[in-house]
Symmetry: C2
Subunit: 469 residues, 2 copies
């Protein structure tokens, strides 16, 4: 495992705060070792740093009371959704209280006529879409995991259909949040656009719980398109596939999803999901629109694919076929792990300008080969975002070192290409050194904002910024 | 005129800073009364508050030097683009230096393959689109005025086609800015999405120059659609027109523009632009897409319009017809003024959830009638944003009072409908009391951010926040 740095603990404050919270929350405050560990980091190779207690509030007012108690005693407060983040966001390096928001899981309102809804932060994206389906509406952001919407906002998540619908940044109208002093604010209202003051919603989105706890979200919704169709197409090389993606985006085809699986990923998907795809690089697409427009998009893509040597182009419009393909895509993490049973998968998350995509993916493949790493690649390539997943034997220190070298090298490559070390996973603990490399001087102003809003550094300490630990 | 409050002046500091800047900038620092007045507020009814000097930097480094000098002597710095803002943003209530960015007007790079470009802040949206046309690209944000892109970002501007393409918030990838201490930062890179730290770009967008001066913008571009067509349709009432808009949006028709002109505005347009439109409420639309998809959108809209009593539906696809209609729309401000020559037009800017649009527009018409105000209405109604333009005889104090009552009443109405007092114009000086009404407690955290980044309150003082004046 990669050791996450521990931070100084305020033992006295923690003891006092836990006593007060126990009185108030009774059985809704838990301190058992198992539950505490479950509320630390449990994915990837970052070590688990458990909180001292886990509390389960039911209302915004209760969250505010928890934060006020913790603020009074300078105790860390860490918001917890589903724990699916990949960069140690929910770890408690200085101990403190994990605020588990899963019991704040109500859809409070759906305004179908305004294409928006109001939800509590513990509602997951699948729950929301189940709730919305009968009204012909959906919430598009899909990071793969069935994450909570509060967590998705906190990490500025996106996923497969960001290329068409944007990220959490674009699909949150406003937030209610509990600030580090325990005050409750609302960043905006239900207007579709606003020029009213500083954009506090966008500041909280992606702040990873370091500036406040999101307690309610007003989200943009979309009508379920009249037609949804999928297509897949195989390519001789990753380079050819990436060039087809570039052309599709430049041509302005409003694809809803355009995903790359490299050769290794296709092999994994065939084995895991019982498919018989040609074992060469694959693009998987989805088109949304009217019947005519979805068909037109598929046709244009087919022509572009042909230009770049695409073969086995297959358009599917039955729900069953479509679901099978996308289920395989969603299962890629598990499928990849089966390429090397027992190994740990370490996901990277770089995002580059699309003109550099083919070069970046090719270089990543070459570097993995050079370092003798088995590293399948999938990507939300319409945005220039791709994930390599080195499969690592964590007992082999030398291999762990090589994986670490690979991750660092890839982040540096993306930054050198005017891209970012994180397209959608966030900084957390794992990528803090790269944030500074990527944004330099700008991180000082982030730290100034953090210090102004959270002078005692109680909100999710040890994340995003290095200045504050 | 409505008196803008003056703030205490730091005479000694201003004198010293101007001396230093004069040495450095020579003739590029101007102190003549006329040029100073041109760099204060010159639109609407807010009084002009001129800066003490206007300086014309050519580079980011020069902007940084200006800010450092002003920071050292605690002198206000006010960024200036084209001066087309409507809420007193460029006024200098405490004096200081206007930084005119119009000579930083270069398009630095166009990355056609990535659909982005890098521009200096003084480039206007028309200049950019002229520059891009040959490459088949365009920048969609169109606030009407030929504003500078730096200014548009600073006020989080949008306009007619935000319903399809979003606002400045959505179309800026990253910014370079000079911060209040004179340091230069870059908020991000050219990746299409990123989860790397606090979203400083979104914080600066809409901050109206109070947190830093934008010195470079990386913007998202779009391919010029294969087909662009327009349509217009007359309705028996504003209510019917608004209901047709609601249905169009709910149906998911991806209209590029959907604009409302009320009866009074249509009369003004006929008179000013030599049109012969039926003098009843009008919707003006634009469709972007492939030939087939644009035609399909027009057809669906036609069916919806018919349901709501729309008549005289006319689709136009020749460039000439289209330009004539949209030119008339863009000239509405001047056309409206001709309804009452000599009067001043005072633009409101509320934005409400679209389900409340018909009610809000109807109530605004009734209230204007009750207050005996001549107030034509136009609106970016796809977003629920509309502008009433009371035409006021500024020499009639009683009428000015009624106009003031109307503006306040309308802002309160929008806030009561879960909307905002400003969809796209910003807060500036004029709407500061309403920001607090709208966002309450949240404004304290805005003030905390302002104080942290600009402790001496030198960046555009007296705007957005009341706490800081």
């Amino acid at each position: 495992m990669v050791q996450a740095t521990a931070l100084p603990r305020n033992e006295a404050g923690i003891g006092t705060a836990l006593g007060i919270l126990k009185q108030q929350f009774g059985d809704r405050l838990q301190t058992g070792a198992t539950i505490r560990e479950q509320h630390g980091h449990t994915t990837t190779w970052i070590t688990n740093q458990s909180p001292d207690a886990v509390v389960f509030p039911h209302t915004t007012q209760e969250v505010a009371e928890i934060v006020k108690t913790c603020a009074a005693h300078k105790v860390p407060v860490i918001a917890f959704g589903t724990g699916t983040s990949l960069e140690g966001h929910v770890n408690a390096p200085a101990g403190g209280v994990s605020v588990d928001l899963t019991q704040m899981n109500k859809v409070l309102a759906v305004h179908a006529e305004d294409l928006d809804c109001v939800v509590q932060p513990g509602v997951t994206r699948e729950d929301l879409n189940t709730h919305l389906r009968d009204q012909g509406l959906f919430f598009p952001i899909d990071p793969g995991a069935n994450a909570s919407l509060g967590g998705m906002a906190a990490t500025r998540a996106s996923g497969t259909n960001a290329v068409r619908y944007g990220t959490m940044r674009d699909n949150v109208l406003s937030l209610e949040a509990v600030m580090p002093d325990g005050q409750i604010i609302r960043t905006g209202n239900r207007a579709k656009k606003s020029s009213a003051g500083y954009d506090l919603a966008r500041l909280l989105i992606g702040a990873e719980g370091t500036l406040g706890i999101i307690t309610e979200l007003t989200l943009r919704l979309h009508g379920i398109p009249e037609a949804i169709s999928s297509a897949r197409c195989s390519f001789p090389t990753v380079d050819a596939a990436c060039r087809a993606v570039m052309m599709t985006i430049q041509y302005g085809v409003p694809v809803a999803r355009i995903e790359l699986l490299d050769e290794l990923s296709v092999k994994a998907a065939n084995a895991y999901s019982g498919l018989t795809l040609p074992e060469t690089p694959l693009l998987l697409l989805e088109f949304h629109g009217s019947d005519a427009s979805a068909a037109e998009q598929a046709e244009i893509f087919g022509q572009i694919a042909e230009e770049f040597g695409g073969t086995d182009f297959a358009a599917t419009s039955t729900t069953e076929e479509r679901n099978k393909l996308w289920q395989a895509r969603h299962d890629m993490y598990w499928a990849s792990l089966q390429l090397r049973p027992g190994a740990k998968g370490i996901s990277t998350d770089v995002c580059v300008p699309i003109s550099r995509l083919a070069e970046a993916v090719g270089a990543a493949q070459d570097k993995a080969a050079e370092l003798d790493l088995l590293a399948p690649i999938v990507g939300h390539v319409g945005d220039g975002n791709f994930h390599t997943l080195p499969l690592i034997d964590m007992d082999d220190a030398e291999e762990v070192r090589r994986a670490d070298e690979f991750v660092g090298w890839l982040n540096d490559l993306a930054i050198s290409m005017e891209g970012t070390c994180t397209g959608e996973h966030g900084i957390g603990q794992g990528k803090r050194p790269y944030l500074e490399k990527e944004l330099g001087q700008a991180t000082h102003y982030m730290a100034a904002i953090k210090a102004a809003l959270d002078p005692d550094n109680i909100m999710n300490p040890g994340k995003i910024l290095t200045d504050h630990t």
